[in-house]
């Protein structure tokens, strides 16, 4: 769980940096997207590894949840979880399920048409198409709302998940743990907030 989480945290940063380029420079975004979309190593090695990482994380999450639920067959009549733990830590399954829903939507909405465009229809590579496509996608307010809401859930998931992953692999030390926790908190807020900013930025600029 923790290892796949750390892998996905790194992937998220990479995804964010590329998306952020669409705000900074149209050319940089186009050339990076073209590289990511056509490079054989990324398309045929890294992409399957990513898919495996995502699937592994979700499947392990479901197994963990079902085992943990069966560890307490009789529930408490009165349970005060908020007295000793954060809402985020107790509801990872729900924030995770919401993110899974978003990923399914994202794959259907973005990844499948992209695969279809490149490999099934076999369209010629067009290094200039990406920026326009992003602007077109975020012109739709419903898509922007879905994105924004999903990233709020991602932030909630990361607020617990980031530091929890380090604890699970035993990386805990009085010298470094406060820094890991503080960095994790900023990461969990800034990265999803950045994704929301990018979606809203294109929505506002694309509708001029």
């Amino acid at each position: 769980m923790a290892l796949s989480a750390l892998f996905l945290i790194v992937f998220l940063l990479q995804h964010f940096i590329i998306n952020l380029m669409s705000v900074i420079s149209e050319d940089a975004f186009n050339s990076t997207s073209h590289f990511m979309g056509t490079n054989g190593l990324i398309q045929f090695v890294m992409q399957p590894i990513l898919m495996f990482g995502i699937l592994f994380h979700f499947i392990m999450g479901f197994i963990l949840e079902s085992k943990n639920r069966s560890a307490r067959p009789e529930k408490y009549a009165m349970y005060k979880g908020s007295a000793n733990s954060s809402w985020m830590s107790r509801n990872m399954i729900w924030s995770g399920l919401f993110i899974l829903g978003f990923l399914a939507f994202h794959l259907w909405d973005f990844w499948l048409p992209e695969m279809n465009y490149k490999y099934i229809e076999g369209n010629p590579a067009d290094p200039k198409r990406y920026f326009g496509e992003v602007q077109h996608m975020f012109a739709n307010p419903i898509r922007v709302i879905v994105y924004c809401l999903s990233f709020v859930f991602l932030a909630l998931h990361l607020l617990h998940g980031f530091q929890s992953a380090f604890q699970s692999i035993g990386a805990r030390h009085p010298k470094y743990t406060p820094a890991i926790k503080a960095f994790g908190k900023w990461y969990a807020i800034l990265i999803p907030a950045g994704f929301i900013f990018i979606a809203v930025f294109h929505f506002l600029n694309g509708n001029h």
Partner: protein
């Protein structure tokens, strides 16, 4: 003060239990929670009813016998105490108090509020010890120099009284805090290092066998632990387990 108690009553391990309501009157705020239950039991006995079964022994916070999930929290609302150290001044006149046994598949209810915590004993039997030759040539433990820092950490871990509040508080009914305290206590000392790999593998295996849940690092156990056992022990056990998994045959 006058209180309304809602208590889990269950005749035996096989019976289906249910919550029952009992009023108690004239409870002193200086009483411990267990003394309040003693008052209730005297009242029940005088009425010709079955008293409420609950675990207790030393009544001074060191034996780990008293359990009780009180108003949604292990050992009630206060911090770093057992139920015998919880006083009625934590409640006010007219309160309704919900009292339940520890809930975990690995801690089945024997009767009313008494649960079978022998799963902890079996985890200890799986590796919570140091094998020493007791033929008469045993070296005095104090003759081995131990850094003060390590000795303190081992002692902190050793203060675990095995009450099970960690399991009861954890939303996953995980026994990681208990097991990790026992693993840490020995892993930190030179005498325990010899069997460290075997120990952590066997104890974690037994913990899983008993049907405890998995740790998702909510931290509830650390907050509710009457002895303030730190999550640092869980991280240490995770490290011990990872390194033992890599080299064990």
């Amino acid at each position: 003060m006058d209180l309304t108690l809602k208590i889990w009553r269950q005749k035996n391990a096989q019976a289906k239990g249910k919550m029952e309501t009992y009023p108690v009157k004239d409870i002193s705020e200086d009483m411990s929670f267990l003394e309040m239950l003693d008052v209730l039991n005297e009242q029940l006995i005088n009425d010709g009813k079955e008293p409420v079964a609950f675990d207790h022994d030393c009544r001074e916070g060191i034996c780990g016998m008293c359990s009780l999930y009180i108003n949604g929290q292990a050992h009630g609302p206060d911090r770093e105490i057992t139920t015998c150290q919880l006083h009625m001044r934590s409640f006010k006149n007219g309160d309704t108090i919900v009292i339940e046994p520890w809930r975990a598949a690995a801690f089945p209810v024997i009767k009313d509020l008494v649960t079978d915590r022998s799963a902890f004993d079996r985890i200890m039997n799986a590796g919570g010890f140091v094998s020493v030759n007791t033929s008469g040539n045993t070296i005095d433990a104090n003759s081995i120099p131990i850094p003060k820092h390590d000795a303190d950490k081992a002692f902190d871990a050793a203060t675990c009284i095995g009450c099970g509040a960690c399991v009861a508080s954890c939303k996953n009914a995980s026994a990681m805090l208990f097991t990790s305290a026992k693993v840490s206590q020995l892993a930190l000392l030179p005498q325990g290092k010899v069997e460290a790999h075997e120990r952590v593998m066997n104890m974690v295996h037994q913990m899983d066998e008993e049907g405890f849940g998995n740790c998702t690092n909510t931290g509830a156990c650390e907050v509710e632990c009457p002895k303030g056992i730190s999550l640092e022990n869980i991280a240490r056990m995770n490290r011990e387990y990872l390194s033992a998994s890599l080299v064990s045959e």
